[in-house]
Amino acid sequence: MSRNRLLFIITSALFFLLPVLLLVLQSVSETWRFQAGQGFTFQLDSFEVLTSDPNLWSATGWSIAIGAGVLVTNLLIGILTGKALATMDFKGKSFVEAMMLSPILIPVLAIAMGLHLFMIRIGLADTLAGVILIHLVPTVPYSVKIFQNAYRQMGSDLLEQPLILGATPVHQLFTVELPLMKPAIRSVTFLTIVISLSQYAITAIIGGGTVITLPMVFFPFLDTANASIMAAFSIWFAMIPLLLYVIMEAILLLLPYTNIPWRNRT
């Protein structure tokens, strides 16, 4: 047991903490030529470049707004569709399941090109709603699959019990289903936000420069040889999923039966 634990600590330090530490160090150092024996030179220029970009704050705001919108829509669609697919039997169910997965099999860019034309006609191009909608394409298939599995694991017994005890569907959702599906909600949160945050091409096309997200400011800098700026941007970029994850955890605390200090445990 303790040997496994040690192994876990060593591997996670080696493959997770160390690279992150290197990234942080690079962001506050000038270009680091360690193989040439040149040491670490402390500087904060790369963060100054970062914060001097007038688009940075608004882009971060847009990205958070889009991420939150995409997440909420995903939870709605994922829970409803996932429950239906896991608990109901109907004709053509396997066909519906296959259709649900198709967006990740067809290149998103191809879908975006076609949808752009349609969105211009109905006035959704260059708007926040349009971007959120297009971000659903690469995220919804995963959410549906995750919630479908969560409901399947929960089993029909646990869903029948509240019904017998006379709970309304909404009551049942908040007291039984959501508390039991916390791990699934966490996975969906992380997955959708990270996917939504890293969409460059489809955001650029549908957002059309009116909606400027963080990748649109950040990705062009992939062309720079200045590793410090890249590192600073990467750290900034990583903060958003973390922030939204923390917010989601706080919301999850509001669910019943949660271990929170101010709720008495007897």
């Binding site: 000038e30 970009d53 006609r121 650029a204 096309i205 040889a225 700026i229």
Partner: protein, 410 residues
């Protein structure tokens, strides 16, 4: 069905009428107005400039230098939107297809292949450069560099914003004297195996490097840049080019088994000291990288015989801009001596100007001549003497295909 048919027809007419209303001013009616009228109607508007955003020097030039001055002098709000040129054109193409006449883009920055595509697909508003006072006053309007762009006739549809020239960079602490010709480069790589490489032909810069060799192997560079691409005519030159490249390949970085995918990769190798030379368009590009500590301070530039290719890049107006007067006023401002002077100074962008220094008033002329572009930049005279024009855009694609077949596969 019939009832709906009529309703549909009415709806279509209604929509068509709507879209016509939104953009009644065509560019030609705007350019026919007096310049003062154009400036007047440009006041209190927003101009959205869509451009590649991967260089903080360039971004800061727009955000910190140009935008506040335009606000102050012309009451125009200049908004920079970072987007790759290919995506901008894709967006315009779809909007054209959808019949969207009230676009979000007022200005784009482009040249070469992108201009060719935009012009062929009618994504640009039309001819306007003749109406710009600063262009007429301070620029050599008949200069072939402004008349054609990679072999495509400009027809007044884009205004020259800047010009750059290809240079090689080396670390003077490691090398006493850089090679002065491609033959010398070949013997240098033989003496220093693994210390030189170039980005592959798909990369903008790598492709330009390869075209330099094509120029060098031809009887004279003019036999390439003055001629449209004819594979039979240049077969002999091409053969020599491939044999040159295959000769140096074993002495390249990683024995030529792998080429950097982009200039960025090559720059990083140079920055780490793995290779001793890098290259690139913009003769002053090393300055900001030295300043940031990415390149060693001893970095200097050089050009080789027969010369170095240079090109001009332009500003243009897309077909569905909703603010033609604002776009014209903004371009005119970008072409002004003041804006060009600030662009030339090394603290922001450090890029060369297409302006004719001879046409400037005395005081301005001195200011242009007194600018120190930095130690890594060659003198204006040396750059002008080695200048070679760009060949037709078709050579770029030809080089991409052939290089892979002749060099990588051999």
């Amino acid at each position: 069905m019939k009832r709906y048919g009529l309703a549909w027809l009415l709806l279509v007419f209604f929509l068509a009428a709507c879209s016509n209303d939104q953009n009644t001013q065509s560019l030609s009616t705007v350019t026919e107005m007096d310049w003062s009228e154009i400036e007047e109607s440009a006041a209190d508007t927003t101009v959205r400039l869509f451009m590649w955003g991967g260089d903080e020097g360039i971004n800061q030039y727009i955000d910190e230098w140009a935008a506040p001055r335009m606000e102050e002098e012309y009451d125009i709000t200049l908004e920079r939107v970072p987007m790759d040129t290919v995506e901008i054109l894709q967006k315009l193409q779809t909007e054209k297809q959808a019949g969207k006449t009230d676009g979000t883009i007022d200005l784009i920055w482009l040249n070469g292949e992108n201009f060719k595509n935009a012009k062929e697909n009618e994504l640009l508003a039309g001819s306007f450069v003749d109406s710009l006072p600063n262009f007429n006053e301070y620029y050599e309007t008949e200069d072939p560099a402004f008349q054609t762009d990679f072999g495509t006739s400009v027809d007044g549809m884009e205004a020259p914003w800047g010009k750059v020239q290809f240079v090689f960079l080396y670390d003077s602490a490691k090398m006493d004297r850089p090679p002065s010709s491609f033959e010398e480069l070949k013997s240098w790589t033989a003496d220093h195996p693994g210390k030189f490489t170039y980005p592959n032909a798909d990369d903008f810069t790598g492709n330009a490097f390869l075209r330099h060799i094509l120029y060098a192997e031809a009887d004279s560079p003019a036999s390439i840049y003055d001629q449209p691409l004819d594979e039979e005519n240049i077969a002999g030159t091409a053969e020599q080019t491939w044999s040159y490249l295959n000769d140096i390949e074993p002495n390249l970085w990683r024995s030529g088994e792998h080429y950097p995918n982009s200039l960025t990769e090559l720059d990083r190798l140079y920055s780490q000291g793995d290779v001793w030379m890098t290259m690139g368009y913009n003769e002053a590009r090393a300055e900001s990288l030295i300043e940031e500590g990415v390149f060693p301070e001893t970095t200097r530039s050089f050009v080789m015989d027969p010369g170095s290719i240079g090109n001009t890049h332009f500003l243009s107006i897309p077909f569905n801009s909703t603010n033609y007067p604002g776009a014209l006023a903004a371009i005119n401002f970008m072409l002004s001596p003041e804006a060009q002077l600030a662009k030339l100074a090394p603290n922001y962008w450090g890029e060369n100007t297409p302006i004719s220094i001879d046409k400037l008033p005395e005081g301005m002329k001195e200011e242009f001549e007194s600018i120190e572009r930095g130690e890594s930049v060659l003198s204006q005279q040396e750059l002008e003497e080695s200048f070679l024009p760009e060949s037709e855009a078709a050579y770029v694609d030809w080089m991409k295909e052939q290089w892979f077949n002749e060099v990588v596969q051999n």
